[in-house]
Amino acid sequence: MSSNNITIDGINTTFTPGETIMQISRRIGITKEVDHKIDPQISRFCFHPGLSIAGTCRMCTVEVENAPKLVTSCSTAAVDGMVVHTNSERVKKSRAGVMEFLLLNHPLDCPVCDQSGECSLQEYNFQYGPATSNFCDPKRVYENSTTKRLSKHITLNMNRCIHCERCVRFSSEITQTNDLLMLNRGWKKELTLTDDTLTLISDYQGCLADICPVGALTFNDFRFKKRVWFLSKQNSICDQCSKGCNIEVHYEDDVVYRYIPRYNKDVNNYWMCDSGRLSYHKRQAEDRIYTNSNSNSNSNSKSLSNAILNSNSLLIILATDTSNEEAKTLIDFKNTYSYRLGKTADCYYIGSEDSKLDHLLKMKDQTPNTRGLLNLNISQLYNSNSNSNSNSNSNYDLVILVKNLQTTIDQHLLSMLEYKFQCKELFAFGVFKSDELKLLQSYSFFKELIPGRTTLEKNGSYTNCDNITQTFKKIDALENDKIKAIPTIEEIFTRIFYQDN
């Protein structure tokens, strides 16, 4: 084992056989951690860590001593005794050459290009490229693909394409839909849909825009919405399904502009589905309820504490999009209620069955925390299949319902509360839409709706379908005046007890 040594930029290290130069340099910190983004040391276009190696852009070439040619660091496996220079004069000249070639036919329409500011071509040309071009011929124009809608999510501008073929490999290796391919050859090579009469069919189209190093494939939802350099970034967790993909939230002021997947090898790898990617719209939707339904009562816990004191039994219903912390608070509340007041109190969750929807990430359960609630020994109120609950047939005067963005309350639940549990008073907590409020108000036992916070507006954790608990943090900038007025579930229910005494 002793003879596996390699020197990269003067740093001597050992390697395991089969490791490529790029992998080693990433491990020892010569190249950046986040390797599908722009890297100043070993530049790359066609290489993406989640895809197979193509070795075609020739941008990651490095100099290996005693080798006649420059080698591509993405595809060259380390050999014992190799001495590698990642930034020598020869390497810089080669990269400058590649940049010159790539920019020959590139439209250089950066002012109106959506990728501008996060474009590999811009970055690497700034670093290596020639400032001027010697090319005097007309540029290549793909007449039919200058602005071509490949689907409702993706727009192609073929003139900007640098033919790295990440997208083609993505559609064959990751989604396995094979809906993109390269037509023709040489400088006429053109990206097209496999069947031109159809659109893209995968559920991961947003990833195409992510992995495209230039502005050839752009995501329609974000297209022309914002210049990327105005965006702030914070890590979070997608709450659209039980997978819990790791994301980066891009926002300016109190508006979220997009979600970008963040690498986590145990959860979502580099990818994320489109419905998750677009789920940020729900947070800032027009019909979200921000204020207490009972407008004349400004201290919302007062009527609740009265109701608690006057009730004989309590039922807490948690939707599966409540965070672990919220659920724990409510369980504590339930225990204290039955312990202090000596009355019956039960806690159940409402949710659906879970299963995988495809070979990648999509899950049937569209809520983030079913597993977390199960781990807290909360059982299901009713099984949607059998439509009958296993719990005792008791009546509850007071019902506390907690739900967030991902679940909707339906008539089935409310009529069950009315007839089966003989509910007299219902307090609803969480994120509701206006039509949900209307539905609630049509029931006489509905008392009050207390608005809540979404994933991005609170601290907490979700436990995903594979039993991985992931925490998320509040994004301070999103806390505008409307949100600031909303207390968290934890705050409300801790306060009630102190008022009780």
């Binding site: 590649v98 005097c136 033919h163 050859r185 040489g186």
Partner: protein, 445 residues
Amino acid sequence: MIKMSVIEPILTKYIGKKDYLSIKKVLNEMNPADVIQDVKKSNLRGRGGAGFPTGIKWSVMPVIPKEESKEKSNKEITPITLRYLVCNADEGEPGTFKDRFIIGKMPHLLIEGMLIAAYAIGARVGYIYIRGEFASEYRILKNAIEEAYQENYLGENVFSKFLNTNKNFSFDLHLYRGAGAYICGEETALLNSLEGKRGEPRIKPPYPAKFGAFGKSTCINNVETLATVPAIINIGAEKYAKYGTAKSGGTRLFSLSGHIQNPGVYEFPLSIKLKDLINHCGGVKDGKKLKAVIPGGGSAPILTAEEIDTLDLGVDYDSLAAAGTMAGSGGIILLDETTCIVEAASVLLKFYEHESCGQCSQCREGSHWLARLFHRIEKGEAEMKELDLIEHICSNMSMQTICAFADAVVGPARSSIKKFRSEFEEHIRIKCCPFKKQKEVSHVL
């Protein structure tokens, strides 16, 4: 079309014969290692273009484990012994037409050569990847393969009637027609195309000997290389090697075209000098003065007439490499004094622009740029400073890509500007092609 050389023909005397003498000799008297040893001794080098020694190519195929080779059960092909022999018949190099000639006139020679090669490397399945445009040759070869199957020269237990020993050898041969891409002559692009993928070269390593067609060990040889093997077996490796030079053994087929008096396919020993070779073929057409020679197919850097005279160049791999060009595919194109070098290079570059597979950045964009630039120079629309740009583009293209295609583009571009710069300058100075101008004038007169 066939022009015999004045020296005793070795390969070409097999025309029309279906007796398969060499393979019978191999199966009766030799074991695979002997065959490889003989081919090594013959100094046979790949006739496709790169000139890699064939014996070494065969010997680097992974060794079949002893127990596996002992059984030699024909029906049960285990994954370890499954390997392919692929014949590269995608002859697309500009100015080369020798493989077409072999397939058209002597298809059985190729089949026999493949049988011997397959026996040597232990392959039981072979493919011939034939260029899509070779329509009649495809039919001829298909017929020949069918004939061979009928005679039990191909298939299960071939030549069982003729064998004295109880050796079993089976070989299945498939014919696959390409779709007309020059790049599929590159061995790994050929494999991709054979597998039904885009014909784009693969990253090496892994080399085909380790990871070839369908992921199995594969040996890829040119048509002429394989067709030469029966002759080597028949006349003996030492005798064959003597026809050539120390490092390049034997004879070779040359395709002569351009301004040559008697164009065609010729067989010459590799020890011949280029000047003599041209004279044997009748010299320059109509007794004109020779201006330049492209010695190894379109990718080979151009040679001036003076270089050929003063260096007294041979046609073997090493002497042409020493002169800064290459023996390539053996396609010799003569250009006489009336030829415009800029136009000739421009035509070649147009071809390469069209045929670049478009994988690597430098080749995709560079071949296009060069073709445009040469076209403008030829039309007299370029500026003087752009001449230096050619070397700039070439230096950024050569030795930078996955396969040798970019270097093939650089070959004619770089050598023509280096050796005929004054002609380029004249184009720019008088703002048109001087040769066309002369032609026009003579036409008017």
